[in-house]
């Protein structure tokens, strides 16, 4: 028995020693020279080589400015990043700067592990006014409690086939959801479809439902109350499913598509609209049959069933999408961290990043210079008209519950329109999950 305890004690000691060793990367003391700043950043699978080159050039710039090194660490998926945040938060050591997705920012905020930005911090970054106002929408629950510094934005837009629209006699892309449905009907004939929708995507469905509801005046969360059983949500689901079942303007195979599959389908040049995409799809579109025959346009901003937005409706052209930078509270290199963030949010670096990777600048002056390009105009407009999803630690659960309604409904859609009763039951279930998650929110 004593032997067993000795082993356990040794094991624990080794574990602690190992953990301490892991945390040993932080340097203490002042001055940049000889220090290393650790930055956690999402891997770029589309342009890995260019991304490595970009990291190298930033490291050199940063070294010239501060004398300190930047060490980039990449994560492959949001889950990898979450695990990294978890372990770093628990251990109190890890990366100094994190790049996190906008919709994940509330979750990161709820851990309380990141520096809240006061006037002094914003000043170090070159002032709040340096950023596109809309991009600050998901930096924190309110102005006094912001943690996220906008880095890049990837607003959602629609792509449309200019030739097909012209051939159908449509001179202007739709600006209301009803108009979109009507045009899609006009465009559907033979082997040609009006809309490409990724019904089996794990993220797309909730974006439609949130957008349509928000435009109709229901942002889904009101303080601590989930409002999923509001008629606006049901209407949104009915419209979204209806394209496939009642309007029949979507390829029946779309019931199995994820977003990249929908991009591929649209790229073949036989679809009028691709309803939810962003700047990073440009290359895929340009390498397909649709090359030279497509353009971006804003997603409709008038809710289904209406010809104008109701008084309390919000002109939400897109969810606020992109990446924020967060400085870790435990960091011993906070000043360096802010210098790094300032560097990568400056106009020149932001424009360079856009040219290499197609992510729009969060820097207002940088975005302004892109406005003159007519091809980009819808994207820059969408970036300015992006609206933040509700800032609550429960959002991850709500998003999951909304998507789950679509996931469980797919087999019904294959048989025809989903009955109101079935939809009500599924929405009620989502409401229950969303509310219970909100009840836990602190």
């Amino acid at each position: 028995m004593r032997f067993g305890r000795a082993i356990a004690l040794t094991g624990a000691t080794v574990l602690v020693a190992a953990l301490t060793a892991c945390g040993g990367g932080d340097d203490e003391g002042g001055g940049g020279a000889g220090k290393t700043l650790n930055v956690l950043i999402g891997a770029n699978t589309q342009y890995p080589e260019e991304f490595a080159a970009w990291q190298k050039s930033i490291s050199e710039k940063f070294k010239a400015q501060t004398g300190a090194e930047v060490k980039f660490e990449q994560f492959a998926s949001a889950n990898d990043e979450l695990t990294k945040i978890q372990t770093s938060v628990v251990a109190g050591s890890g990366p100094d700067v994190y790049a996190v997705g906008t919709t994940f920012t509330p979750t990161a905020y709820s851990t309380g592990a990141f520096v809240k930005l006061g006037d002094e911090e914003w000043k170090k970054l070159g002032g709040k006014e340096k950023f596109v106002p809309a991009t600050l929408g998901i930096s924190g629950p309110d102005e006094q409690n912001q943690v996220g510094i906008p880095w890049v934005s990837r607003p959602f837009v629609m792509a449309y086939n200019t030739e097909l629209l012209k051939a159908a006699g449509i001179d202007k892309p739709a600006t209301t959801w009803d108009e979109l449905t009507a045009q899609a009907k006009q465009l559907t004939k033979g082997d040609q479809y009006g809309l490409a929708i990724a019904y089996k995507d794990n993220f797309d469905p909730w974006k439609f439902v949130w957008g349509m509801s928000t435009q109709a005046g229901n942002p889904l969360v009101d303080g601590k109350t989930a409002k999923l059983q509001d008629p606006t949500v049901k209407k949104a689901y009915e419209t979204y499913f209806g394209w496939l079942t009642t309007d029949k303007v979507v390829d029946p195979a779309a019931i199995g598509w994820t977003n990249p599959q929908a991009v591929a389908a649209f790229a073949k040049g036989k679809t009028g609209y691709f309803a939810l995409t962003t700047a990073t799809a440009v290359n895929s579109l340009d390498s397909g049959a649709v090359k030279g025959k497509w353009a971006f346009t804003l997603l409709p901003t008038v809710p289904p069933g209406a010809t104008s937005r109701p008084g309390n409706g919000v002109e939400a052209a897109s969810i606020l999408s992109g990446d924020n930078l967060l400085v870790a509270d435990y960091s011993k290199n906070k000043d360096l961290a802010f210098e790094y963030v300032k560097l990568v949010t400056d106009q020149e670096v932001q424009l360079d990043y856009y040219k290499k990777f197609g992510n729009l600048p969060a820097n207002a002056a940088a975005l302004e210079t892109l406005k003159s390009d007519p091809k980009l105009a819808p994207l820059t407009e969408a970036a300015q008209k992006s609206v933040a999803t509700p800032f609550t630690g429960a959002w991850a659960d709500i998003q999951l519950a909304l998507t789950n309604v679509a996931v469980q409904t797919l087999p019904d859609l294959a048989k025809g329109p989903v009955s109101a009763a079935t939809l009500d039951t599924r929405i009620a279930e989502a409401q229950k999950k969303a509310q219970s998650s909100l009840d836990r929110a602190k």
């Binding site: 628990v90 029946p252 659960d397 294959a414």
Partner: protein, 291 residues
């Protein structure tokens, strides 16, 4: 006599177990104890930062597990695992018998049989996912219209089918190993007795396979229950209700819902629930006792 035995027991060089024991403690025991501890506290994204101070809520997480779909997930996992094993055993044994006797091209057949086993799970799932699209090659070849394989109740059978496809070579390998251990004398003796192939197979050869195949069944069933990659890549998260197997439920609860305490309780519960039949089974087939 008794005292001598005691001395020899004391003199056993138990200290030689230290490296292994240390590793076991580090890799299995400490994380297991941590998981059990976490299952009793209310650990989520709000309490993560001061996890030592996270409120102790006793069996709260366990009670909630039962209300958030764990029983159904356990049923799905167990039925899926048992079904997959039951189907793969005859296939695996038959394949082993087919490659037992030497013939031209046997090496090639053996190599081909191993392909599903050596492919990474991720690749297997991605390829099947592509083939099973509504307008994919499976529906097209079989003329099934746009049958949905990856959503709704069909998804359960898809999971079983793909698992069988990927897992039968394991049984095949174990059965092959068993066949190799059949002595030449046994073959000669049955030839001398003039036994025809069927009685020889069922009365002479198969009893030799009992041990290895039972062990294979046990390992395969546990592998099926623990398989996360296959359902995750095939169906994505959130998964259709019909394939919300235990690993998927724990994953979603932990990494998308961020309820670490709740998911730890689910994991501990599933461990206990698997351990009970496992223990009974091990006793029954006496795999854990020396012959």
């Amino acid at each position: 006599m008794a005292s001598r035995k005691k001395v020899s027991e004391l003199q056993r060089p138990l200290w030689l177990l230290t490296p292994g024991g240390l590793l076991m403690t580090l890799i299995i025991l400490i994380p297991l104890l941590l998981a059990i501890w976490i299952s009793f506290i209310d650990l989520d994204q709000y309490t993560l930062r001061r996890w030592v101070e996270a409120p102790f809520i006793g069996i709260g997480n366990y009670v909630e597990s039962f209300e958030s779909g764990l029983p159904k997930s356990i049923w799905l996992s167990v039925s899926f695992a048992v079904l997959s094993t039951a189907v793969t055993v005859p296939i695996g044994i038959a394949a082993a018998l087919v490659t037992q006797n030497a013939y031209r091209g046997r090496a090639l057949v053996r190599a081909v049989f191993l392909i599903p086993y050596v492919l990474p799970s991720f690749v297997v799932a991605s390829v099947w996912r592509t083939m099973l699209q509504p307008d994919g090659i499976v529906n097209e070849t079989l003329g099934l219209g746009s049958t949905l394989w990856l959503s709704g109740s069909n998804s359960y059978w898809t999971l079983v089918l793909v698992e069988i496809w990927a897992a039968w070579p394991f049984i095949y390998l174990m059965a092959l190993a068993g066949l190799q251990s059949v002595d030449n004398e046994v073959h000669e003796a049955s030839a001398v007795d003039g036994t025809t192939w069927w009685p020889k197979l069922t009365r002479v050869i198969l009893p030799y396979l009992r041990g290895p195949v039972l062990l294979a069944c046990l390992l395969a069933t546990l592998n099926h229950i623990n398989n996360f990659t296959l359902p995750f890549v095939l169906f994505g998260a959130p998964a259709p209700d019909d394939v919300n197997v235990m690993p998927m439920l724990v994953y979603v609860t932990s990494f998308q819902g961020l309820r670490f305490g709740l998911s730890a309780a689910m994991a501990v519960l599933s461990l206990v629930l698997i351990a009970i039949p496992l223990y009974a089974y091990l006793r029954a087939v006496r795999l854990d006792v020396d012959k």
